[in-house]
Amino acid sequence: MAPLVADGAGVADVLVARATPPGSGALAIVRLSGPPGTTLGIARALAPRLPARPEARRAYLSPFRDEEGALLDEGLALYFAAPRSATGEEVVELQAHGAPAIAEGLVAAAVALGARRARPGEFTRRALANGRIDLARAEGIGRLAGAASRGEARRALGLVRGELSLRVEALREELLTVLADLEAGLDFAEDVEEDGEAAALARARRLHEELAKLGRVVGVGRAEAGLPTVVLVGAPNAGKSTLFNALVGEDRALVTETPGTTRDAVSEVVEIGGERVRLVDTAGLREAEELVERLGVETARRAAGGADLLLLACAPDAPGHEAEGLPEGVPVLRVATKADLGGAGAEGALAVSARTGRGLDELRREIAGRLGAEPEPGAWGALPRQGEAVRRAAEALQALSAGLPGELAAARVRAALHALGEITGETATEELLERIFERFCVGK
């Protein structure tokens, strides 16, 4: 069969790709996106029961065939009309059974019919270009695709829904009005009273506080490299490694009855309370005799210093001055391990038995609680670059004081607006003038 899409300039390609992760699963989704008509044409060659005028967002049961008409599978075909689709183009999704060969067969057949394999991120790029999403949302989709925990997925979804964009947009709006007031005084000095300037500066200072607050939490500490870190510390043989393994869910750390067996900090990423958390096991924080042991202790100290939360393990059969040598300023959660051995357990400690599983769920909840909730909607889902932009905006406004000449204050506000524009992707000149003319009666 001849390709349905002319390979001429000016005609957007029909993109095809498998939309579900590679490998086998119960279902595989193959997505086609492109200009109206041609996209549906290719889709109908693959899924012949899809009607010529399909209803939008309806699933049609159809056999799936390759370009020669050979039967590949049977499944559902969903149709989305432009521009009300994920990419803003005409989109058809084919839901096939999960065998890799079937999805690949469908993609290959679509390519034989004139579609082109989508490069990574290309669907999103089209959605961005068609104005279906803004920059922040596009980046959210990228994160959603790579989300490794439910929390991350939820926050990435926040980005997709535009939580951060909305928040930043609101601040930007206010800042634009501040700038309009400042600029009106500069450009229409003869028509505009000067006392508006002081009020505008006061508003700008309030916005600075808000931006600074937002900047402290947006896109920091929760990015890939900066997962919250929980470090297990405690006297040798306090049961740290057993607890570590119980939380990780497999025998990851070496467990022996000999104190000081764990010489290196062992770390594993686990999901606790829907969040990804880096869990680090350390050697006992006891002054060791042996050199090798001492090295392990040094590692522990370093790891503990960088932690967001310390789990201090204390066991009835391994007494020790637990609190000694702990880094300052890091919150500590006391855990009484080996609760199955009996004993009172330390005051205020959470009793846990890795062997019976007692107390493990409470411990997980407690860890999640201690690590804290998301301080601002959209804050943790943001990319480091977006956090950067917010912090640059806050910094630009920092030097605004009552005595700063108007043109310098305006320059600062402009710099802040410019930084925020990197998140929402907008420029301001015409908007600014609109606002000046709305608010002030200027001109002779």
Binding site: G10, D134, D187, P405, L408, E430, C441
Partner: protein, 632 residues
């Protein structure tokens, strides 16, 4: 056959005068064609030059060898720095001009300009040969061969004057419009639009009761526009006061009750007027809560009784105008010498121009001034200079790039880039807020920014440039020396400085002391004693610039850094024939806007309203792909 003229400039207003002078300065045989020789340099509206952002443009014109600053200095009757309480970047020098003297001065400068001829006549159309402009057709049927033409038609293209229900075909009060040219421009494929502007009534000086008015005096020590001509004595003409009055409820009621008789509100005027220069009807309607609006009463010169009522432009019938004027304190017995009127005229949408102000439709044809949708004498003059220079380059068989100014270099550059990139759907006026690098575009730095460009382009003879360059060198040397002048806190120095109320706790430099925001005026004398050769030669303006440069150093540095970042986007050029239609993913709206405006750089594309960041990203990607293909 050799054409007698290489460049023809149509129109002798503020754009035409600069265009003709610039073309002639570049050595091209130039003809200025005007309908009335006596109308050269005529001020159609307010008798003033300069103002915020505009004052900077006047300086820029001076640095580029133009006429306006010199003419304004010689004919100013009140000089005032606006925004004097603010920083140097946003200060703007403005002067009231003697209207008649100003026009005479411009006429005189043009008459003295070598290579320039002035003739009376009316242009009607263009001669085209091989897709290029070949000459001009005049209304009397004669033809004029030339290589390039600059049209500066102001408000004359199909000009229509409105006063109440009365309508008259005129480009200015009592001056016939020019209509053939509109059709000829349209026939070239150019899109034309309609705009509106207005001018207030003029009243007899003797009919004003000044005892009821607020005096508005000029600066005690007036500053000059032109550091190039440095006329002496300055100011040349006797200085006068302006006066302020205010509208009141009675004025507003009168206007509200008669809105139906204003063509602006009866729907008779279709053209769009300027937002920043609204008619009094507009002000009353749009800001109903304002109890009063300021009216500026400005004398039009020494040889005339005409007095200008700034802020009172309107298009009500004459009888009502008199009632409105007489409702103002001090004007109860005012006699109107010429009524206010609105004027509608044709403009060519400026996004059809290159940044040299040459039309894309017909190579060799340039447009400047109000015909491009701008307002203001200074805006017109700045465009005229650039268009005239480029018309001369084309006439000389230009091989290199055109003469253009960047947004970071000059307000003229900001304006032309705005016009050709964004277009104009209302009369465009320069504002300092339109310049993203405002802090770098102060009037003080105009010569530093532009004299080297003017010399390179041949617009400024080296003999004239030399004193300006020396001035810059003096400035730099003084700054350098002050930075190196150590001020050590020994007993004597501490005591001396203490008497000047300067506290010296630790070692500093001359620059360090001056940088302090509370540095007293008296510090100047003390520093001069220590660096007599360098500081003693500085005049008032040079001294204040020195101090400003020191105090704003940090801000200026930051500004220059941000400029570098912006410049990268500006340097990404979009090829001339670039096709936007059919770029996968580019929205139809963005493609249409880009197709219409045809930005030359990615930076310009990003400034077009409706072109989203996403579209710019897509363009960037597309340009990268194309670049790759070209390299392969």
């Amino acid at each position: 056959m050799r054409a007698r003229y290489e460049v023809v400039v149509v129109g002798g207003g503020h754009a035409g005068a600069e265009a003709a002078a610039a073309a002639a300065r570049l050595g091209r045989r130039t003809l200025l064609l005007t309908r009335e020789r006596a109308a050269l340099g005529r001020m159609s509206c307010n008798p003033a030059i300069g103002g915020l952002a505009k004052g900077q443009v006047v300086r820029e014109i001076d640095a580029l060898g133009g006429l306006m600053a010199h003419a304004a200095d010689r004919t100013g009757i009140q000089f005032k720095v606006l925004n004097a309480s603010r920083g140097p970047a946003v200060q703007g020098l403005r002067c009231q001009s003697d209207r008649i003297a100003y026009a005479a001065e411009v006429s005189e400068l043009l008459s003295r300009q070598p290579s320039l001829t002035i003739a009376e006549g009316t242009a009607a159309g263009f001669l085209v040969r091989g897709g290029r402009l070949a000459g001009l057709r005049l209304e009397d049927g004669s033809e004029l061969l030339c290589s390039s033409v600059v049209v500066t038609s102001g408000t004359f293209l199909r000009g229509l004057v409105h006063i109440g229900e009365r309508r008259e075909e005129a480009g200015r009060w009592g001056e016939a419009p020019c209509s053939g040219l509109s059709e000829s421009l349209r026939a070239l494929g150019l899109r034309l639009g309609r705009m509106k502007t207005g001018t207030p009534p003029r009243v007899h000086r003797e009919s004003i009761d000044r005892s009821k008015l607020l005096r508005s005096a000029g600066d005690g020590r007036p500053r000059r526009f032109s550091l190039r001509s440095r006329i002496e004595p300055f100011p040349l003409l006797p200085q006068v006061d302006c006066w302020l009055s205010h509208t009141n409820e009675r004025t507003h009621d009168l206007i509200r009750a008669n809105l139906g008789r204003s063509p602006l509100y009866s729907g008779r005027i279709v053209g769009r007027g300027p937002r920043y220069c609204p008619s009094i009807e507009d002000k009353v309607v749009r800001f109903p809560d304002r109890e009063r609006h300021t009216i500026f009463i400005e004398p039009e010169g020494h040889g005339t009784d005409w007095t200008y009522l700034g802020g009172l432009s309107m298009s009500l019938p004459v009888g009502l105008q008199l009632e409105v004027v007489r409702s103002l304190p001090g004007l109860e017995r005012a006699e109107i010498l010429r009524p206010a009127y609105a004027v509608e005229y044709d403009v060519v949408f400026p996004e059809q121009l290159e940044d040299s102000l040459e039309t894309r439709a017909l190579p060799g044809l340039f447009l400047a001034g109000q015909v491009n949708g701008t307002s203001g004498y200074e805006e017109a003059a700045g465009q005229g200079l650039v268009a005239g220079a480029n018309a001369a380059l084309v006439a000389g068989g230009r091989i290199g790039p055109p003469f253009t100014l960047g947004r970071h270099e000059a307000y003229i550059g900001v304006m032309i880039d705005d016009l050709v990139t964004l277009g104009a759907d209302e009369p465009y006026r320069l504002l300092t807020s339109r310049a993203e690098h405002r802090l770098l575009l102060g009037a003080e730095s105009a010569y530093a920014r532009l004299v080297p460009r003017a010399i390179a382009a041949g617009l400024l003879p080296e003999k004239e440039a030399e004193p300006l360059l020396e001035r810059e060198a003096r400035q730099a040397a003084a700054r350098e020396a002050l930075g190196q002048l150590r001020v050590v806190p020994d007993r004597e120095t501490v005591a001396t400085l203490d008497r000047l109320s300067v506290t010296l706790a630790e070692e500093s430099t001359g620059a360090g002391l001056l940088r302090r925001p509370d540095a007293p005026e008296s510090l100047r004398g003390w520093l001069e004693e220590r660096l007599p050769g360098l500081l003693g030669e500085l005049d008032e303006e040079e001294w204040s610039r020195l101090v400003n440069d020191l105090r704003y150093e940090g801000f200026l540095r930051r500004e220059r850094e941000s400029l570098e970042r912006v410049r990268r986007a500006e340097e990404k050029r979009i090829p001339a024939g670039f096709r936007y239609a059919g770029i996968p993913g580019l929205s139809a709206e963005a493609a249409e806007k880009l197709e219409r405006h045809r930005p030359r750089t990615l930076g310009q594309a990003a400034r077009i309203p409706g072109v989203t960041a996403a579209a710019v990203t897509l363009l960037l990607a597309r340009l990268a792909v194309r670049g790759g293909e070209a390299a392969a």
